[in-house]
Subunit: 540 residues, 2 copies
C-alpha cells in the first residue's frame, strides 16, 4: 500500500498509491487501499501524484484515489498504461489526467521539481525520483535492483545517482525489501540460463508461471520459445493485457506468429507448446489453480509436462501455492519450484551490498529506509548508520502516519501522527466497508455463527409469550442444543425482570437480551463460544 506525501508551504506532492491484497478472502475483503483522510482536508494543495513503477503495491490504489482526489498523475508510459487498465474497471467522474514522463524529464509541482531516474527492477520503465525542494534534494529510489546485465540492455543509471550525490542530497529514501539479504541480487539474465536448461531437456509441453508485470521474464521465455520453435499462449486476463501494453510500447518484443490464442495452442504437438500462465501465488481463481485442478478450458496439464514456477513465494501464500503444486503432481507433471530449482527466479530488489553502494554514491545527510516491514527498515537503518558513520546526520524508521519534519534546524519525527489507515474494500459490493462494526460482526459469525432469538413480548402480562431461537453456523452437538434450550429461560428472565418502561424501549430490550444471552453462553461453554446475537422483538 506504498504511499507518501511531501508537503512544503502550500504544496503537496504524492508518491505512489498502492493496493494490498489479503492472502485469503477472509471477512469478504478483497482489497485494501490507503485512507486519504489527511489529504482530503488539504485537497486544494495536492499538486500531483508521481508514480515510480507499475507494480500494484505502488499503483493499485490510484483509481480509488481518483474517486476522491482530482489530481494529475505522472508516470512512465508503461506505468500509466497499467493505471489506465486498472481505472477502466471503475466509473470515475471524469477521465483521469495522466501525464507521461521519461527519465530526465523535470516536472514542476508547486515548489517541488521532480526528475525521474532510470532504475532496473522486475518490471519495465521504473523510476527513482530526485525531488528538488526549498531545502535541498530528496532522492527516492522507488523499487530497484542494480542489474548490470538487464534483459533490455538498459542499465541502472549510476551516473544520475552520482551526479545528485555530487550536488548534495538532503535525504535518501531507499528500498528495504531485501535489507536482510547479504550480497548482491542476481541479474535477471541468470534466469535465462535456467530457462535454457529447461527448454533443452523438455520433451512435452512447457508451462511457466510468473507475475504478469514481469515483462523481462516473459521476454526471456518468449526468446527461448522462438529458438526452440515452440508456440506460446498467454493464459490469464491480466497477463495478456499487461503483455499487450508492453508490446505496444515495444518493451516486449514478440516475433509475429510466436504467440497464438490459447484455444489454438492444442492444435500443435505437445513438444511445440509453451504456456505462460497467471497464478504463481496459488490465487484460488487464477488460471494455474484451475488448470492444476483440470478445470481450465484451454490450459491442460498432462503426464510428462513441465510446470515451472518463475516467481517468489510471497510469505503467507505458501500453503495455496503448495496446494497447486500437489495438484500438478497429481496430473503427472514435473513441477519446478522454489529450492528444488533455485535459478528460476531473480529478485527485483537490492541486497545489502547494493544498498551500501547506493548509500556511498548518494552520501545523504538524512536517511529514511522505505518499502519493507519494520524489521527490514530497522536493519536498513542500522546498515546505513554503519556504512556512512558520522557523515550521516541521522536515520529515521518511519511508520504509517508518522510525520518527518525537516527545516533549517534539522530533521525530527513529530510526536503526533496524522490520520492514515486502511480502506477495506468489500468483495461483494466493492465499496468501502466500515472497519469496526461490520468487520467485527463478520469475524464473530465466522468463528461461532449467529443466533437469532425471536421473542414475542406480551406487554400486559409483562413477559415473553413465545421464544424461538434460530441458529446458523452454530455448533449442533447435543450439548449445544441443550445449552440453547436453557437460554429460553434466561431470555424470559431478561423480559420479566425489566421494568414496564424498559419493555417499551425495543432498542434497550434488544441490548438487554443480547447481554444476558451472551453472559449465559460464556458461563455455560467452557471455551467461550461467542456467536453473534441478533434479537428480533415482537409485540404479542
Amino acid at each position: 500500500m506504498n504511499m507518501m506525501a511531501l508537503e512544503s508551504g502550500d504544496d503537496i506532492v504524492l508518491i505512489d498509491s498502492g493496493i494490498l491484497f489479503p492472502s485469503d478472502e477472509h471477512y469478504g475483503i478483497n482489497a485494501i487501499v490507503p485512507d486519504l483522510t489527511y489529504l482530503l482536508s488539504k485537497k486544494d494543495r495536492v499538486r500531483g501524484l508521481v508514480l515510480t513503477h507499475a507494480h500494484l503495491d505502488h499503483i493499485g490504489g490510484v483509481p480509488f484515489l481518483l474517486e476522491q482526489l482530482d489530481v494529475p498523475v505522472y508516470g512512465t508510459a508503461f506505468t500509466l498504461g497499467m493505471v489506465r487498465k486498472q481505472a477502466s474497471e471503475f466509473t470515475l467522474l471524469k477521465p483521469p489526467n495522466l501525464v507521461t514522463i521519461k527519465p530526465g524529464d523535470e516536472i514542476s509541482l508547486g515548489c517541488f521539481t521532480v526528475e525521474g531516474i532510470h532504475v532496473t527492477h522486475s518490471t519495465v520503465q521504473c523510476l527513482a525520483l530526485a525531488i528538488s525542494t526549498p531545502l535541498g534534494y530528496l532522492l527516492h529510489t522507488g523499487d530497484f535492483k542494480i542489474d548490470q546485465s538487464p534483459v533490455d540492455g538498459r542499465v541502472f543509471d549510476f551516473e544520475s545517482f552520482a551526479e545528485f550525490g555530487r550536488r548534495g542530497v538532503l535525504m535518501l529514501l531507499s528500498d528495504s525489501t531485501n535489507a536482510d539479504v547479504p550480497g548482491y541480487s542476481a541479474s535477471e539474465q541468470t534466469v535465462g540460463s535456467a530457462l535454457d536448461h529447461i527448454f533443452s531437456q523438455a520433451e512435452k509441453a512447457l508451462f511457466f508461471t510468473c507475475f504478469s508485470s514481469a515483462i523481462h521474464r516473459v521476454q526471456q521465455i518468449v526468446d527461448r520459445a522462438v529458438q526452440h520453435r515452440r508456440k506460446v499462449a498467454l493464459v490469464g486476463r491480466s497477463l495478456a493485457t499487461t503483455c499487450e501494453i508492453a508490446s505496444n510500447l515495444r518493451l516486449l518484443k514478440i516475433p509475429a506468429g510466436t504467440v497464438v490464442q490459447p484455444t489454438d495452442l492444442e492444435s500443435y504437438p505437445s513438444h511445440d507448446r509453451v504456456t505462460i500462465i497467471a497464478g504463481s501465488q496459488g490465487e484460488p481463481r487464477s488460471s494455474l489453480t484451475r488448470a492444476a485442478q483440470g478445470q481450465h478450458n484451454t490450459a491442460k496439464v498432462e503426464e510428462g509436462d513441465i510446470v515451472a514456477f518463475s516467481a517468489k513465494m510471497i510469505p503467507g501464500n505458501e500453503r495455496s501455492i503448495y496446494r497447486v503444486i500437489d495438484n500438478l503432481y497429481r496430473s503427472g507433471a514435473e513441477v519446478l519450484y522454489g529450492d528444488t530449482c533455485p535459478g528460476l527466479h531473480a529478485s527485483g530488489h537490492p541486497c545489502r551490498e547494493e544498498l551500501k553502494l547506493i548509500l556511498n554514491l548518494v552520501r545523504p545527510r538524512y536517511f529514511v529506509p522505505i518499502h519493507g516491514d519494520y524489521r527490514l527498515l530497522s536493519q536498513h537503518k542500522a546498515l546505513a548508520t554503519k556504512v556512512r558513520g558520522s557523515d550521516l546526520q541521522e536515520a529515521f524508521v518511519i511508520e504509517n502516519g508518522c510525520v518527518l519534519q525537516i527545516d533549517e534546524f534539522g530533521a525530527r519525527v513529530l510526536p503526533d501522527k496524522v490520520p492514515v489507515g486502511r480502506r477495506l474494500i468489500d468483495t461483494g459490493t466493492r465499496s468501502q466497508i466500515d472497519r469496526d462494526g461490520a468487520m467485527r460482526d463478520r469475524r464473530s459469525m465466522s468463528e461461532f455463527g449467529v443466533l437469532v432469538p425471536v421473542v414475542t413480548i406480551d406487554e400486559r402480562k409483562g413477559k415473553a409469550v413465545e421464544i424461538e431461537i434460530l441458529d446458523r453456523g452454530f455448533d449442533v452437538s447435543a450439548s449445544s442444543r441443550a445449552m440453547l434450550s436453557g437460554a429460553e429461560a434466561v431470555i424470559q428472565d431478561s423480559v420479566r425482570l425489566s421494568t414496564k418502561a424498559e419493555r417499551r424501549d425495543p432498542a434497550l430490550m434488544e441490548k438487554k437480551i443480547q447481554n444476558d444471552f451472551r453472559r449465559y453462553l460464556s458461563r455455560k461453554s467452557s471455551r467461550q463460544t461467542r456467536p453473534l446475537i441478533v434479537p428480533v422483538l415482537l409485540e404479542a
Copy 2:
C-alpha cells in the same frame, strides 16, 4: 494428522493418530483430527495403537480416538508422558491403557508383532517400527533423520535396519517430509555452534524460541547457559510441562539451580538471563507473541536483548511470525531468524541422500512414501524407483482413504477408498462440528454477513403487512442500503405471488423468500454479494 491402519484377517493395528491445527482460527475450528468411521465399524478387531514419537501431528488425535475406541496405546516413556498430558485435558470414560515400550521390545498384536527401532529425530525416544506380518516384514520409519552426532549420543540404529534388510523386507514406508531437499540433513549438534557464537557475543538478556518438544535443542541452550553462568526461565505452559516430563525421565539434564521461575528471572542482571519461550510459529496467544507486544507478565524484551528463532518457519505461518519479529524490533531487540542466521535450526527429517541410504539398507520389495504432501510423496517414489531399479517391485503413492492390498500374488491399490476424513473440532464448544452445514454458513457470513428479513404475513389479505430487514456484517454503503430497501418489494412479491396453501407452509415460504432475495441480490450487485439469509416469518 498422520494415521494408518494395518489389517490382516481379524486383526487391526493402528500406527499414530495426529492432530492438525488450522493456521488461523478461521471458521471457529481449532483442531482437526482423523475421522474414525471405518474403524468404528470394526471396533472389536482393533488390537492396539502404536505411536512412533511424541509430536502432536502423530499423537494429538489420541485423546479424541480414546473417546471413541477403547484400545491399548503403545509408545516410549516420553511419548506416553506427552499422551498422558494431552489426555488430562479430556474427560475420558476410563483411564487410558498406556503401555510403555523400549526399542527392541516385541509387542504381539493379533497376527502382528511390532518391534521398535531407535531412530534420531527432533524430539527424544523416537521409534521406527518393524512389523512382522503373515506375509513378511513391514518397516515403517516413523519420522527420522540420520544424525551421526546426536546431542544425547544415542545414534540412529543402523544395525537393526540392516538386520531387517538382511532378513528381507516386504514393504518399506519412509518419511518424505524433506524428499525435495538434496544432500544430508545437518546434525542437531551444528545448532550448538550457532548457540556458542550467540552466547559469546551477547551483552544483555537472551531469548530463544523453539518447539516445546525439541528437548535436544533445550538441552543445548541449557548447557550453554550453565557454561556462561546465566539463569534460565522456561516460559510457556506446554514448554514447561514437556521439559518436566523429559527431566523426570532423565532425557533432559538440567543442573540444580540453573532453571528459575519466570517471575524470579528479573532479579538477575540482564546479562545473566536466558529465557526459553514458546511461540516460534507466531501463534496469536503464545508467550512470545505477547512478549513482543509488551504484554507478557514475566517475559520483558528490552533494548539490546537478543531474540533467536531456533525453529523452522512452517509454511503458512510466515506472516504471523514476521509480525512478531517486527514487534520485537520495535522494542529494540536484535532478532535472529531464518536466513539471517542459518545455523539456528537443523531439520529433524531426512534429506535425499539419507532416504537413498535407508532404501539401500532395507532393500524392500514394495515401497510406500509416507509423511508429506503429494509432491513430496511423488518425488520420494521417483527417488526410490531410480535408486532401487528393478530390485524394487513397485512403489505406491497413497492418499488418504486408499487401501493398499498385499497378498501372495502381489500388491495393488484397491479402486474404492474407505471412509476417512477430518473431524473438525469447534473452538467454542470443543465438540465435532458438522462440516457441510455449519461450515458453509460460517463461510458465507464471514465474507458477506447475514440478513434477517422479519416478515409479518396477513393470511387474509394474502400479503406481508410488515417487512423489516436486519443486517449484520453487511456492507453499509449508500448503494447497499438502497439495494436492501428495494428488497422489500421483492419479498412482498414472494408472499403475494404464493398460493394460499404455500403461505400456510412456513418452511416453504422461508425457502421461497430466501431464494427470491438471493436472486435479487446477485442481480443487483455486480460482484456477487451472497450474505446468509435467515427469514423470520410471523403471522399478523
